[in-house]
Symmetry: C2
Subunit: 253 residues, 2 copies
């Protein structure tokens, strides 16, 4: 007997999440420029775990306790933080083996918003195929939650949502009857052959350019540079592969 | 000296309106299936004015006062109402010269949401060109507010938003730096050559088909069958052309 297909839906803003919420689903948070790309980069480069915090007061308290803190607002590094929100900041020499406290304008708030779901996972172009493989193996409905920009729709998160929805429905294990997912897949179909070029029109690309922070465009829009699947586990982000799979393997041996 | 271009933005849900609100702008409310198409049909067929009401209690009170009431929820006519939300209900024999009280699942709530704007206008494919001509003459920023489906994104309102944004930016009088407008224009570019066929994938089309209410698909997706431009004037919807233009002309003669 063939398995019943699971549903994939797309929510374009944290402010719309109440209308998409399904606590039996896995929520994939996407903030391509730059929080979720940076989280994947951190795990790729050996970070042990990340503590996502929504508020700056909370981030500052962790700093006072001696933690490594990455924090930005509107693209700029906070004065008390060790570094900001560029994936290039999360270099192996800085993050290997470390637990990093992380607060950003949109991304970490979206993670908090979704925390009632069955699982919360972190999505970016750089872990697209690894993430979709994991989602297919988990066999649960999926809601892709776009972090957006201060609750407004943005292009880069929506195109990523389309890429993921296309992978999942294309696998035969998922269906969608969600108009937002259908529209996102259309955008992905237009953008996929020149993803970085297509993103030239995105509003946040212009914000970053004005700040001299757009050196990360190619990195953020190059699929599959890592196999990490960051997931939320008791308020901590860990790499599913390291935390669950390798630990189980080592317990079994 | 050339005039400064005005901005057009697209808001995909009434729940996102606080993040797009600009009280110097004209808000165009779009609920293609079916409220805003029906409002345009009512004026096309000679209605004098419409009173949009968000709540059913309010609609019932107007009925008790003797008004003609159109009211639906989830596609179905309310028992106390004279008729429901199909544009075919607003026939000349019913509406000519009449003031109609109107309450729907999404559309009339969206009109209330936008009521702080400089003007609130009603948009549908059937008045697309007339509406865009009026917006260009008004020379104000425009926010297209998609009524959506219970605050979720929907395809038909978004494609309409793209059609209107494309008309406005194509006129040379408007620009956009709004990612939602850019994405909507992409959808319109895909859909425009077979609009009704494209809408076959929309979730609400399937809801209406299940209810046997999808006979209006072609009517709702055929551009420019009317020149009316319904606008909100002191809590009443009137046709701008009749109310302001013809009245002024008759005062001048």
């Amino acid at each position: 007997m063939s398995k019943k297909k699971k549903k994939v839906e797309v929510c374009y803003s944290p402010a719309l999440y109440p209308y998409y919420r399904n606590d039996n689903s896995i929520v994939v948070v996407a903030d391509i420029l730059r929080a979720t790309t940076s989280i994947c980069a951190a795990f790729k480069n050996g970070a042990k775990s990340l503590i996502p915090v929504a508020g700056l007061d909370e981030a500052r308290k962790w700093k006072e306790k001696g933690y490594l803190v990455a924090a930005e607002r509107d693209g700029l590094v906070l004065d008390f933080a060790d570094f900001g929100n560029s994936p290039f900041n999360f270099s192996p020499s800085r993050v290997k083996g470390a637990t990093i406290v992380y607060s950003t304008t949109n991304g970490t708030q979206a993670i908090k918003t979704a925390s009632g779901a069955k699982h919360v996972a972190i999505g970016a172009f750089i872990n697209l195929t690894a993430l979709s493989g994991w989602l297919i193996s988990e066999d649960a409905d999926v809601v892709v939650l776009c972090a957006g920009w201060k609750n407004r729709y943005n292009l880069e998160d929506s195109v990523f949502a389309g890429a993921l929805a296309a992978k999942l429905t294309g696998s035969g294990n998922f269906f969608t009857d969600c108009d937002a997912a259908l529209a996102a897949i259309e955008l992905w179909n237009i953008a996929q052959n020149d993803l970085c070029g297509y993103m030239d029109k995105a509003a946040h690309r212009h914000r970053l350019r004005k700040l001299g922070l757009d050196d990360i465009m190619e990195y953020c829009h190059t699929p599959d540079s890592t196999q990490v699947v960051p997931v939320l586990k008791d308020h901590l982000l860990v790499d599913y592969n390291k935390y669950f799979v390798e630990d189980n393997n080592s317990q079994q041996t």
